[in-house]
C-alpha cells in the first residue's frame, strides 16, 4: 500500500488530497474548515481531515507532493521585473518580502508546517514538487474515463505556463506545448471581472452569469487587446493591462478604450454597459477556446478531450465546445481550479514519476466528487443538541416524503447529506434546494437566502434519464460543468414587448416551465444525477417527480454570498438560522425554522466579506 498526500497552497485555493495505490480516498479545500473563502494558507485542517479519514499520520505517509514549483515562479517574477524596470518598484517592494518569507524556502516551510501536525515526521526527503499545469492536466486526465485523450489546461498563471496542451495515454501524460505569462486567458477574463466591479478570482462566475443580459457589442474593441491566431493561440497587448508589475489588473489605456472607469461595487450600479462588456468578453473567450480545441483536435487526432484549470469552470464555454462536436467525449475535472492541483499532483506522482499501472474506470475515478467530510447520524444529533436546535428524526422514507412536500409548497430547504463535495460546486450533498417550477423562487433565493445579486441564475439538478426530455443535450454532466438550452416545448416564448425589456427586468418574465432555473437566454447549468453517484439525492428527486411530474430541483450551494460552502452540521445550522431558509434536513433530522428559538438567530451575512 502506497499513500500519497497532495497539497495545494499559498496561491489561490488551498487543499489537500490523499490517494492510496492510485485510488482517490479523500480531498477537501481549506476554506471549508477555516471558513475563509478561497483560503490560501497552509491547509492544516484539510490535511488533518484527509489523514483522519484514512487513519494515518503524516509520518506514515509514503510521499508528499506540492502542486507547483516555487522556484520557477520566482524566475518568472524576476524576469517580469527585468522586463519592466524601472517601472514596478511598488509591486516589487511588496512581492520580495513575501517571497523571502514564504516562497523561496518552500520546502522548509512545508516541512515545518507538516511537522507541527506530527512530531514523528522527521525528514523532508519524501516531499516532491509537481508543476502547476502538470498538476492541472493530471487532475483532468488520470481520473477521466479515457485511456487516451488530449488535455487542455488554461488558468491565470502557474509557473510560466498559462495554457497547455498535453497528451495522455494510459498511465503517462506529456505536456506538448504552452503559452506563457503574461499572455493568459484566465487573466484576460479576470481583467474584465475587475473592470466590471467583481472580485478577481471569484467574481468570474458572476461575470459569466451576467453575460446573457447583454449584447456582445464590444467584441471588436476587445479584440484590440489581444492578437488571436487561427489556431486559437494568443498574445495580450500589455499596454492595456497592469497585472505584470502593477497593483491593478488594467491600465489607463484600457479604461480609455471602453470609455467608462472601473465599476466601484459599493457605489455603482450594474448597467447595460457592464452587461454588454460581460457578453462581449464571454464571446471572445468562447471563440478562442473553440479555435484552440479545434486546432489541437486536428493536430493530434484523438477523440477525447479533458479540461482543467480555472478557465474550465466556464461552463458556458464548455457547453459551446460540446455543441461544436469537435470531440466525441469531453471530461472536465470538477475541482478545475487550484484546489484540484492537490489531486493532480498526487496522481502525477503516482502514475508519471512512480510509473504505476492505470486501470481506466468507465465512469471516472472521482466518486462523484463526494470526497470530503461526512457525519454519522449520532454526530449530527450531538452537534444539533449542543446548539440548542429543535429537530425531529425521521426514517428515510418519511424524510424524503416530507422534504418533497416542503419543496412542492415553495419552501427553501437546506439539504445536508453524505460526503462534502470537492470543488466549487455543490452537487446535492451541501445544497440549498427548491422547486424549479416556482416563478418567484429565483428572486427569493437570491435576495432572502443567498443575499446575492438578483441577476444570478440557479442550476437544475435533473435525473439523468429525463435529461433529453427537458434540455437539448444527452450526455452526463455530473459536475455542473456544462450549459445547455431548455427544449423548445418547455419554453415560453417572450412576446415582442417582453423581448424589448431591459436586462434584469427580463427576469420577471416566466420563460419556461421551470423558470427559476432558466436563464434569460433559455440556458441552464446542468447537473445530472444518477443512482450510482448519489443514491439519496436521486431518491429525493425521484420522489419529487412522482409527486409533481417534474424530475428537476433547483440546486444551489449551501452558503450565503461570500461564505464558503457549509462543512459541518454546525455550519449548516448557523447558515439556516442566519437566512430565510424554511427547513433544514441533515441526515435523518428535519428542522423547521418556525420551531427554532429565535434567540439563536444571528446577524449572519455581515460576517462574510462580499465577493
Amino acid at each position: 500500500m502506497t499513500t500519497i498526500l497532495g497539497i495545494s497552497a499559498f496561491y489561490h485555493d488551498s487543499a489537500a488530497t490523499i490517494i492510496n495505490n492510485g485510488q482517490i480516498i479523500a480531498a477537501a479545500q481549506e476554506e471549508r474548515f477555516s471558513r475563509i473563502k478561497h483560503d490560501a494558507s497552509f491547509p492544516k485542517n484539510a490535511i488533518n481531515f484527509v489523514l483522519n479519514y484514512s487513519n494515518l499520520k503524516i509520518s506514515q505517509i509514503d510521499q508528499i507532493v506540492f502542486f507547483e514549483k516555487p522556484l520557477l515562479k520566482f524566475d518568472r517574477l524576476l524576469k517580469t521585473y527585468l522586463a519592466n524596470a524601472p517601472f514596478g518598484f511598488e509591486s516589487f517592494n511588496k512581492a520580495i518580502p513575501l517571497w523571502i518569507r514564504e516562497k523561496i524556502f518552500q520546502k522548509k516551510i512545508l516541512y515545518k508546517n507538516l511537522r507541527k501536525l506530527d512530531c514523528d515526521y522527521k525528514s523532508d526527503k519524501n516531499i516532491f514538487f509537481s508543476n502547476h499545469h502538470l498538476s492541472h492536466a493530471a487532475s483532468a486526465f488520470f481520473p477521466s474515463p479515457f485511456d487516451e485523450a488530449i488535455i487542455l489546461t488554461a488558468d491565470g498563471v502557474g509557473e510560466w505556463a498559462t495554457t497547455t496542451v498535453a497528451i495522455g495515454k494510459n498511465n503517462n501524460l506529456e505536456i506538448k506545448k504552452e503559452i506563457h505569462f503574461p499572455h493568459s486567458l484566465g487573466l484576460f477574463y479576470s481583467a474584465f471581472t475587475y473592470y466590471t466591479g467583481f472580485k478577481v478570482n471569484s467574481g468570474e462566475y458572476k461575470l459569466m452569469g451576467l453575460a446573457p443580459y447583454g449584447e456582445p457589442i464590444y467584441e471588436n474593441k476587445i479584440k484590440k487587446l489581444i492578437d488571436i491566431k487561427e489556431d486559437g493561440t494568443f498574445r495580450l497587448d500589455q499596454r492595456y493591462f497592469n497585472y505584470t508589475t502593477g497593483l491593478t489588473m488594467i491600465s489607463e489605456k484600457f479604461v480609455n478604450l471602453f470609455g467608462q472607469k472601473s465599476r466601484d461595487p459599493l457605489k455603482d450600479k450594474i448597467t447595460k454597459f457592464h452587461m454588454d462588456i460581460a457578453a462581449s468578453i464571454q464571446k471572445v473567450t468562447e471563440e478562442i477556446l473553440i479555435k484552440l480545441v479545434r486546432s489541437i483536435q486536428k493536430e493530434y487526432k484523438i477523440k477525447n478531450l479533458c479540461l482543467a484549470g480555472g478557465v474550465a469552470l466556464n461552463c458556458v464555454a464548455n457547453g459551446k465546445i460540446f455543441k461544436e462536436k469537435i470531440f466525441d467525449n469531453i471530461w472536465v475535472q470538477p475541482a478545475a481550479g487550484d484546489a484540484g492541483g492537490s489531486l493532480g499532483a498526487a496522481l502525477a506522482l503516482w502514475y508519471i514519476e512512480n510509473g504505476n499501472k492505470r486501470t481506466v474506470n468507465s465512469n471516472d475515478d472521482m466518486k462523484g466528487s463526494y470526497l470530503g467530510t461526512e457525519y454519522t447520524q449520532e454526530e449530527i444529533e450531538k452537534q444539533l443538541k449542543s446548539l440548542g436546535a429543535d429537530y425531529e428524526v425521521l426514517n428515510y422514507e418519511d424524510l424524503l416524503n416530507k422534504t418533497t412536500n416542503f419543496l412542492s409548497n415553495e419552501k427553501a430547504v437546506g439539504w445536508f447529506q453524505g460526503r462534502m463535495e470537492f470543488g466549487p460546486r455543490a452537487l446535492g450533498n451541501r445544497s440549498i434546494l427548491a422547486d424549479p417550477r416556482s416563478e418567484k423562487m429565483q428572486k427569493n433565493l437570491n435576495l432572502k437566502v443567498k443575499y446575492r445579486e438578483s441577476f444570478r441564475p440557479f442550476a437544475p439538478s435533473i435525473l439523468r434519464d429525463n435529461l433529453s426530455e427537458w434540455f437539448d443535450i444527452n450526455t452526463d454532466s455530473p459536475y455542473m460543468l456544462l450549459v445547455a438550452n431548455i427544449k423548445s416545448d418547455k419554453k415560453i416564448e417572450m412576446t415582442e414587448k417582453q423581448k424589448k425589456l431591459f436586462g434584469i427586468d427580463k427576469l420577471n418574465i416566466k420563460r419556461s416551465k421551470i423558470p427559476s432555473v432558466t436563464h434569460v437566454d433559455y440556458s441552464s447549468r446542468i447537473h445530472t444525477v444518477t443512482k450510482r453517484t448519489n443514491a439519496t439525492y436521486f431518491d429525493l428527486i425521484s420522489k419529487f417527480k412522482e409527486k409533481t411530474g417534474c424530475p428537476i430541483l433547483v440546486n444551489t450551494s449551501f452558503n450565503v454570498r461570500g461564505e464558503p460552502i457549509v462543512n459541518s452540521p454546525t455550519d449548516a445550522f448557523h447558515c439556516f438560522m442566519g437566512t430565510e431558509l424554511d427547513f433544514l434536513v441533515i441526515g435523518n433530522c428535519i428542522l423547521d425554522k418556525k420551531k427554532q428559538d429565535l434567540k439563536l438567530k444571528k446577524n449572519y451575512i455581515n460576517q462574510f466579506e462580499l465577493d
Binding site: 517580469t80 522586463a83 518580502p97 506545448k177 514519476e353
Partner: protein
C-alpha cells in the same frame, strides 16, 4: 505601557524603512540596469511583441519534469 507601544511602533517602522531601502537598492542598482541592457539587446523577455507567425505556441523542450526538484 505607552512607551512600550511607541518603541514597538518605532522599531517596526525602522525595519520597514530599512527593508524598503535595501529592496530599492536591489531594484534600482541591479534589476533596472540589467533589465535595460537586456532590452537594449532587443531581447523580449516576456514576448511582449505580436508577430506574423502562424502560432504563439511554445513547444515544450524535452526536459523531463523532475519532481524531486523545486525548479
Amino acid at each position: 505601557m505607552r512607551i512600550k507601544k511607541i518603541t514597538i511602533n518605532f522599531l517596526s517602522f525602522t525595519i520597514k524603512t530599512i527593508s524598503t531601502f535595501v529592496i530599492a537598492i536591489f531594484f534600482f542598482v541591479f534589476i533596472t540596469p540589467i533589465g535595460i541592457v537586456i532590452r537594449l539587446f532587443k531581447k523580449d523577455l516576456l514576448n511582449y511583441k505580436f508577430n506574423k507567425d502562424k502560432s504563439y505556441w511554445i513547444k515544450k523542450s524535452n526536459l523531463k519534469n523532475n519532481m524531486k526538484k523545486q525548479f
